[in-house]
């Protein structure tokens, strides 16, 4: 387990970007998230790990209110983004999602051209005044998504025609094009092969310089490779949250230890 060497990664103490206090989520009658308290720092990759159905994706989707689209989902508690409650009545989820971007489990480019995929966000948010500016944003975003060199000659080609790994990087480029402050990633590599996964992981590490990145992953190695902070969820509870190195080498909770050593999950 070479990956464990990442425990040496320095964890700088940063500003708190997102603070969740006593968050409870209910799907109808089922209690999906129980009293979760977590503080997500800026310019940090935070990984959520845990067995299937433990609520990590649900919690992630609370952070940009994607759960609003599910009728039976209720969220209680406070989630503060830069000190502001995102579940406040005055908050428009659309405005929030421009600030908190999201990359999904399955690459989901729009069935449009590569250019239009990236340009869509800036267009609807009015980030570009003219075509030249928009071109610039598209190029910058595709570069940040580490896919520019592969697609620069075929920006008019449909985004759905790319390979899986390219599609996912396109989706990341699309997410960063709207200039978010936080990037949420819901198992971004689960549909990718190891090579594409490596590329995306490398990208995530680069993105850390500008964004606060939250990643949900099933792969503990991945969490160990890319993240500085790790949160372990189990049955809707946040069992343990701390620096990645500590979670993987010296977990405090026996459940965390069982999970990372493969005895549960």
């Amino acid at each position: 387990m070479n990956d464990m060497t990442v425990m040496d990664k320095t964890v700088e103490t940063q500003n708190i970007k997102i603070a969740a206090k006593d968050v409870n989520v209910y799907y109808g009658d089922s209690h999906a998230i129980k009293d979760v308290n977590v503080e997500i720092e800026d310019n940090t990759v935070t990984a959520f790990i845990g067995p299937s159905g433990c609520g990590k994706s649900t919690f992630l989707r609370c952070l940009n209110r994607m759960n609003d689209t599910i009728d039976i989902c209720r969220v209680k508690g406070d989630i503060l983004l830069d000190g502001e409650d995102i579940y406040d009545k005055r908050v428009d989820p659309v405005q929030l999602r421009a600030k908190v971007g999201m990359v999904f489990q399955k690459p989901n480019p729009f069935p449009k051209s590569i250019y239009d995929n990236v340009a869509y966000g800036p267009r609807i948010h009015g980030l570009a005044k003219n075509k030249a500016e928009l071109d610039e944003i598209v190029e910058k975003s595709l570069r940040r998504g580490a896919i520019w060199d592969e697609v620069k000659d075929r920006l008019d080609a449909p985004g759905t025609g790319l390979s899986g790994g390219q599609q996912q990087r396109l989706c990341i480029a699309r997410a960063v094009a709207t200039e978010p402050e936080v990037l949420l990633m819901d198992e971004p590599c689960s549909a990718l092969d190891p090579i594409a996964t490596a590329q995306v992981e490398e990208l995530i590490d680069e993105l850390r310089s500008q964004y606060s990145v939250v990643i949900v992953t099933h792969s503990m190695q991945q969490a160990a490779r890319v993240s500085q902070k790790t949160a372990f969820f189990h049955l809707g509870n946040l069992v343990e949250f701390g620096p990645t190195g500590q979670i993987f080498t010296n977990p405090e909770d026996p459940r965390t230890e069982s999970y990372i050593t493969g005895r549960i999950g």
């Binding site: 480019p109 966000g121 094009a177």
Partner: protein
């Protein structure tokens, strides 16, 4: 985990369940295979039965209907006698209009007599009976011509006149010398004359464009009846249906599918929309009669009312197919749009709707095709039994003036006594089916062309 592979100590191994050679089929396998073969046989038989019915249907329709596209015409040189048509000789249009179609009879008789003499045909028929092989429509045709061209009075002009339906039927084999024994409309001598005229080339059977574009005619003149005006009626109804059902249906589906909360009320609405799709169309007809005609006092027999009724009938079809195609757009597309900060409406209109459009279009075309062929509701709002003799001239006329529709026209023809109308009913069915086949083909092509896979 080795305990599973060990047999319990001390007991003899059980005999193998699947002993015997693989090259021999066990009785059980044989039975299963025989059952499968039988089932395939039933399936093929069912499809074959369907195909046979289809072949019978198509051959019957084509066999009986193609006759309607041909009509017997008589080419005559008519001397437009000034003495009969414009006694004063002033070419005053009012005076010319005073001559009724009855006044044209001597001219037609004269023209018939002239052609018989010219060809040297021996016949014992009187002039009146000579003219009897022509359609009753001829006098009106002649009068219309004279009123439109008064300067031609006194000249000899060549005309193509419709032959009467009996003569037409004789040439098509529908009327025989045996069948006319008790027929007062035509005699054996007249048929002799028809044979002679046909041999001389004066009387011939040609393609009849007027059947496709012309207006319906009264009971006495089946040879003059066409489906064109009722086709316009159908067209205007489809226009109303498209203009109302598509936006209403799509708006309702988008709301129900994308925005409405899931609760007992929307469930109820959903169930009822599905039920509405199965409501017999005559129920919509009586609803239209009660609401649009009795309560709102819209004109009877108007394509506008027909269109409104058919809109009600088509809406469930459009809503169901639109919702199905909205549902088939993967939720990941909605997530993607919402994830970059699009509002719900932007997500729907920028991404979901374009992807669902082919399905919506297909559903709409199929709904329209269904409405185009619908007869029952039109019975109740007075679009059946009405003889639309003139094509509408303006848009408002087209919507509000009484008219018929293609299926109603076909029903009307099939109802009339003269077998010549029966032939026209089959011909009308051919035209109606051509429309439906075209629309359905269009729907299939659109679906194939724009269908996206992901």
């Amino acid at each position: 985990m080795t305990d599973l592979t060990q047999s319990p100590a001390g007991t003899a191994p059980e005999p193998r369940k699947h002993g015997g050679s693989l090259l021999e089929q066990t009785p059980r396998t044989k039975r299963r295979n025989a059952a499968e073969k039988r089932f395939r046989g039933y399936g093929i038989a069912a499809i074959a039965a369907g195909l046979v019915m289809l072949v019978i249907l198509v051959t019957t329709i084509v066999g009986k209907g193609t006759g309607a596209f041909q009509q017997t015409f008589v080419t005559l040189n008519v001397e437009l006698l000034e003495a009969k048509l414009d006694k004063k000789g002033e070419r005053n249009i009012e005076d010319i209009k005073k001559v009724t179609t009855f006044g044209y009879a001597p001219i037609i008789k004269g023209a018939m007599t002239a052609v018989v003499e010219e060809l040297g045909i021996e016949t014992g028929l009187k002039a009146k009976d000579l003219a009897g092989i022509l359609s009753k429509d001829v006098a009106a045709q002649l009068r219309d011509y004279v009123i439109a061209n008064p300067d031609q009075i006194g000249q000899t002009v060549e005309f193509r006149f419709l032959a009467s339906s009996r003569v037409d039927g004789y040439l098509k084999g529908r009327v025989t010398r045996e069948s006319i024994v008790n027929d007062k409309n035509i005699s054996a001598e007249q048929l002799d004359l028809v044979d002679a005229l046909a041999a001389a080339g004066v009387l011939e059977k040609t393609f009849n464009l007027d059947f496709i574009f012309g207006a319906d005619a009264s009971d006495a003149r089946p040879e003059a009846a066409g489906i064109g005006v009722s086709m316009l009626g159908s067209l205007f109804m489809m226009f109303v249906v498209l203009a109302l059902a598509l936006p209403i249906g799509v708006a309702a589906s988008i709301y129900l599918e994308e925005f409405a909360p899931r609760n007992w009320l929307t469930d109820l609405i959903e169930v009822n929309i599905s039920n509405l799709a199965a409501v017999p169309s005559i129920v919509f007809g009586i609803l239209g009669l009660a609401v649009f005609i009795n309560y709102m006092h819209l004109p009877t027999s108007a394509p506008l009312v027909g269109g409104l009724v058919l809109t009600l009938m088509t809406l469930p079809t459009i809503i169901i197919s639109t919702r199905a195609s909205l549902k088939s757009v993967p939720p990941s597309i909605r997530d993607a749009a919402l994830g970059v900060g699009a509002s719900k409406m932007q997500a729907v209109f920028h991404h979901v709707l374009p992807l669902a459009a082919p399905g919506i279009l297909t559903g709409t075309i199929i709904g329209l095709a269904q409405a185009l062929g619908e007869t029952a509701p039109l019975l109740l709002i007075g679009m059946v039994g009405f003889i639309a003799s003139n094509a509408p001239e303006t848009l408002a006329d087209g919507l509000l003036a009484p008219n018929s529709a293609m299926p109603a026209q076909i029903y009307e023809w099939a109802k009339r006594a003269d077998p010549a109308f029966y032939e026209r009913a089959w011909g009308g069915i051919i035209i109606l089916l051509l429309f439906l086949v075209t629309m359905n083909t269009l729907a299939v092509i659109l679906r194939r062309r724009f269908e996206r896979r992901w």
